[in-house]
């Protein structure tokens, strides 16, 4: 496989193809689509955290003038629990069918119980109020400690752990060596317990869809998601309509961050459209988004790390309990699998526990689980380094994983770039700069590292040369991180033409081959592989066409700067044939020029990052602010550096929110008390400094352009970096997120001993 060098477009900050539409408001998001005869769907949601549904009477709602259809769980295809898992990606359809519409029990406030379609939104809302649900209200639990109590109400009675009905619905472990033996060798052992709160992905665009079901069953879905094929498959599973009859058209997406890798509305709207014979539109309110979608897990983690006096980690043990919400499936794989991975630790046990409780089912959130685990591990590492009187970056370097290190979750690392990220952080202007005077506020600096698996998987692409000699590339992944711009750069590079001649679009499910969803930082890695192979096929065709015209051997033709040339003077003297000329001649020379490739891509390398964070704390008000931040990451190859930096900066911004203010707050009744952006405090621009990025480029040898996924790693180290910086400022450790002003002040005002337990 050739690594492209001497690039003209790869590595350039080209103008993003979706930019103009987005800044002028022309971009079509999910809620922007309308159809003649369209009606509106609304969802009736459970007010209770936990309740048995004894009966649902929809007769009054159905009689309300303007109501065209009502659906309940009876209309959704059931996947019986006892028949075993039916997996679609990471989702089990047994839980999906119960999440989109409660069956026997409502498991969180906001859990859908019925849905109505009516001629106006107001009528649909009114009709929801006329649906009579007879609930038997049950005891509930939300917090992990409550859900694990011996007498805790069990959400899924069929589930047993240690032989007893339990809310622990899953466990995994990664093991290496013998930790008992390892800890015996340690001179310093530090064990700490940490908690984090549920946080939402916070995409600005609420879930929305418009769905039409024709009388012959042909179904069209316009919706915003991280995978139109995922939407098609899940909707097919849950409605019984074959996939061949469902055309899922991806809208422009207003943020996803993992949270749009599952469906909520599409199956309901499809059934309402089928029943009513009318196109049905559904748009969630922000409150519905906050109550019933995402967020990621709240967590409780205990991490023990032992090291020798000379700074070598000899053993580590992590136990990560993560909230799954109503159904199994919290991201314990990310927490247990990623947290220790930057380090070469001979004796390691990393355990994850999946805990159900009465809150909404978790959805993926940027490196799912990994930031939660890294928060605990990287904070303990900071304490160990301090106990050893070592610089925290030197301590990491001393224990860094490198080529040949066997990770506890399985792989033996190929050439990886972790050490380079630590070295770059250490050499950064930021790490060398003095903290400066806080004018009464206390300043501190912290560092942390992080790892994410990254992914490959199925992708398809079709590359076509237009009749005028330009290029249209169709891929199958919603673009949430710059994949269109990256693909345009790569395709232009390979063809040797201006990137503006390459138009990259995202196909719908019936016009491009299967492509797995946008997630796992896989899209540019995977889609550039299929686009590269498609483009190479086209270049081969173009060479053959030129050879035919020149009546020479195709091997004697080279493709360069957008034109066919004789490979050498020996091949003959011919004027170059440009892409435009060959396109014009195409009808006479064998027909249209285009190629498609479909692959299950392999060879995604994991990603590593190391972050440096400065904070300033107003000790009288308890307000911590991040005043300087540098994110270093091994990005493989930055195809579009502007977008890569955007990914790094975006991840850091989300992590700062998670660290300082974001959290789900619940009322005494178990309902989310802050279901909106006013009281769910994501950072605003003025809360953040400019976030500096250092891109370390260690190309992935298994990828034609050296690409590694970059989208998820930058969230992983952030909370630990902020927490370690706050410790450095205040001399007090925090073991719970968020470090919001009331909580910071509480620790500052507590007697000294208490803070460190």
């Amino acid at each position: 496989m050739n690594v492209v060098t001497n690039n003209k477009w790869i590595g350039q900050r080209t103008i993003r193809p979706d930019g103009m539409d987005k800044v002028t408001g022309r971009a079509q998001f999910a809620a922007d689509t309308t159809m003649p005869g369209m009606i509106w769907g609304k969802v009736l949601r459970s007010p209770h955290p936990h309740a048995r549904i004894k009966s649902i009477d929809t007769s009054k709602a159905e009689k309300l003038p303007g109501v065209k259809a009502v659906v309940t769980s009876k209309d959704i295809v059931d996947f019986p629990i006892e028949k075993g898992a039916v997996m679609l990606g990471i989702q089990d359809m047994r839980w999906m069918c119960r999440n989109v519409m409660a069956r026997d029990k409502a498991l969180f406030p906001g859990h859908p119980v019925a849905a109505v379609a009516a001629t106006t939104e107001a009528i649909a809302e009114e009709a929801c109020k006329l649906i009579e649900v007879d609930y038997e209200v049950l005891p509930w639990s939300i917090e992990i400690d409550d859900a694990l109590k011996p007498d805790a109400p069990v959400l899924h009675e069929f589930n047993k752990f240690d032989g007893k009905p339990s809310n622990i619905v899953g466990r995994l472990e990664h093991k290496k060596g013998d930790i008992a033996e390892g800890f015996k060798k340690a001179d310093v052992v530090i064990e700490r317990t940490f908690t984090t709160r549920p946080v939402h992905q916070g995409y600005i665009e609420p879930h929305a869809c418009l769905i039409s079901v024709a009388p012959d069953g042909k179904t069209t879905i316009w919706s915003s998601s991280q995978g139109q094929f995922m939407v098609r498959a899940m909707t097919a599973y849950l409605t019984g309509i074959p996939q061949s009859d469902i055309r899922a058209i991806p809208a422009e997406i207003g943020g996803g961050f993992g949270g749009k890798t599952i469906v909520y509305l599409e199956p309901l709207a499809t059934l309402l459209a089928k029943k009513s014979g009318r196109p049905v539109k559904m748009v969630m309110t922000r409150e519905e988004v906050m109550r019933a979608t995402g967020p990621t897990s709240g967590s409780k983690s205990t991490v023990t790390i032992g090291a020798t006096k000379d700074g070598k980690i000899v053993a580590a043990h992590g136990t990560f309990y993560l909230q799954a919400g109503a159904f199994p499936g919290s991201p314990i794989r990310g927490a247990a699998g990623c947290s220790f991975t930057p380090y070469d630790i001979p004796n390691l046990l990393s355990e994850g526990y999946d805990v159900c409780s009465n809150r909404s089912k978790v959805a993926a959130y940027r490196a799912p689980g990994a930031p939660i685990g890294a928060y605990a591990v990287e904070c303990v590492l900071d304490e160990v380094a301090e106990a050893l009187k070592m610089d925290p970056l030197d301590f990491r370097l001393k224990n860094a994983a490198k080529e040949g290190t066997k990770a506890a979750h399985g792989p033996v690392f190929p050439r990886i770039g972790y050490i380079e990220t630590v070295e770059a952080a250490k050499a950064s202007p930021h790490y060398a700069a003095p903290l400066g005077d806080g004018h009464g506020k206390l300043r501190g600096r912290g560092v942390a590292s992080g790892f994410w698996f990254n992914a490959g998987g199925e992708s398809s692409a079709q590359v076509n040369i237009t009749e005028d000699g330009n290029v249209v590339v169709t891929t199958g992944h919603p673009d949430i991180g710059g994949s269109r711009a990256g693909i345009a750069n790569i395709c232009a590079e390979l063809l040797g033409i201006d990137y503006r001649r390459v138009s990259v679009i995202i196909g719908d499910t019936q016009t491009v081959g299967f492509s797995n969803l946008t997630g796992g930082s896989r899209v540019l890695f995977a889609s550039s592989m299929v686009v590269t192979q498609s483009t190479e096929k086209i270049i081969q065709t173009l060479r053959e066409r030129a050879a035919k015209i020149w009546e020479i051997d195709p091997e004697a033709v080279k493709w360069e700067n957008g034109a066919a040339h004789p490979a050498s003077p020996n091949a003959g003297q011919f004027e170059p044939l440009t892409l435009e000329e060959l396109a014009e001649k195409a009808p006479a020379m064998g027909g249209p020029i285009g190629a498609g490739v479909q692959l299950n891509t392999q060879g995604a390398d994991g990603g590593f990052g190391t972050h440096v964070c400065d904070v300033e704390v107003d000790v009288d008000l308890g307000i911590a602010r991040v005043i300087r931040y540098t994110a270093v990451q091994d990005v493989g190859r930055a195809i579009h550096p502007g977008y890569v930096e955007g990914q790094l900066q975006g991840g850091v911004a989300q992590g700062i929110g998670w660290a300082l203010n974001e959290e789900y707050i619940y009322t005494k009744e178990g309902k989310v008390d802050n279901p909106g952006f006013l009281d769910y405090r994501m950072p605003v621009c003025s809360d953040l400094p400019m976030i500096d990025c250092i891109m370390v480029e260690i190309p992935n040898p298994k990828h034609p352009q050296g690409v590694k996924g970059v989208g998820e790693v930058p969230l992983v180290p952030v909370m630990a970096a902020v927490a370690n910086a706050i410790y450095n400022a205040l001399g007090k450790r925090f073991y719970a997120l968020p470090m919001s002003p009331p909580k910071v002040l509480e620790v500052l005002e507590a007697p000294t001993q208490q803070a460190a337990e």
Binding site: T120, I623, D673, D679, V684, S686, P741
Partner: protein
């Protein structure tokens, strides 16, 4: 489905007539930055909306004969910021009004709406209380005046009578050596609701405080006028002891709740911290002018 009627009268008499006639189904629309949000979220479903922005008196900023100001209830934050002299005389009131919402919201949001929304956390209210503003209201029985601190009755409620509309705020003339300031604590840097808000208005002569008023927001069901804190400052040089005493008085005046925005302990402590910081800014402004 109920219909919504929208009226935009040119005179106060018409507005009061329509408002009174519609009874509890009616709502006054100034900037609408609270009303429209409440309607969209389904909290409110008014039958009649009376838009008062076409009434000249309600959107005017005037300097009164005695040197004070009369600010119409529906004057937007941006309009107040652009006034030539208002912000020089009442920088604390202006900064408080300008903290309502975002820049975009400032084009609409008004001090009148902020007050009538009845939120204990409204930013402009503690500053208006500190300023000693008097409000003019007009209702079916004619006009009357109230102290601004007497308007809020509790969260979401006011002491205006049925049919009464807030017309304007009157701010008194300023003796030399006077200024004011407003600070709030929010977890973020903007786009947030005050966890504690503090307005301080001072008059100083030869480094000694001769008059002071202090308003505290978000620490009780209504915005508070904290006279004990003001008394602790009056006669002092804003020395540490006086500031500590005033801060303690602010903390003592708090009757907050634990909620999603802050704890009781946090609010009580922060009220005192903000008093010291706000007083320092007001004093610096007051002495700069001399």
């Amino acid at each position: 489905m109920t219909e919504l009627r929208y009226l935009a009268p040119d005179t106060l008499d018409e507005a009061v007539g329509a408002f009174a006639k519609a009874g509890s189904a009616a709502r006054i629309l100034a900037g609408g930055t609270d009303l429209l949000v409440q309607m969209r979220s389904g909290v409110l479903k008014p039958g009649v909306i009376v838009d008062i922005k076409k009434i000249p008196e309600v959107t005017a900023i005037e300097q009164t004969a005695d040197g004070g100001f009369r600010v119409g209830a529906a004057v937007s934050g941006m309009a107040l910021a652009e006034h030539e002299t208002f912000g020089k005389v009442w920088p604390g009131v202006l900064e408080a009004v300008n903290l309502i919402g975002s820049k975009q919201v400032q084009g609409r949001a008004s001090a009148g709406g902020n007050l009538c929304n009845g939120s204990p956390a409204g930013d402009s209210v503690p500053a208006m209380v500190a300023a000693g503003a008097i409000v003019t209201v007009q209702g079916p029985d004619g006009r009357r005046e109230m102290k601004v601190e007497d308007v809020p009755a509790g969260p979401g409620r006011t002491n205006l009578k049925p049919g009464e509309i807030l017309v304007s705020f009157t701010l008194p003339p300023r003796p030399p050596g006077s200024s004011d300031a407003y600070l709030r604590m929010i977890p973020r840097t903007e786009m947030d609701i005050a966890v504690v808000g503090c307005g301080v208005s001072l008059t100083m002569k030869d480094g000694i405080v001769t008059a002071a008023r202090i308003g505290l927001g978000a620490v009780a069901p209504t915005v508070l006028l904290v006279e004990d804190a003001a008394n602790a400052l009056i006669g002092s040089k804003l020395d540490d002891a006086a500031l500590a005493k005033a801060a303690a008085a602010c903390s003592a005046a708090c009757r907050p709740i634990d909620d999603k925005r802050g704890t009781i302990a946090y609010r009580v402590k922060v009220a005192g911290v903000l008093l010291k910081r706000t007083a320092a800014i007001a004093a610096q402004r007051a002495t700069q002018k001399n």
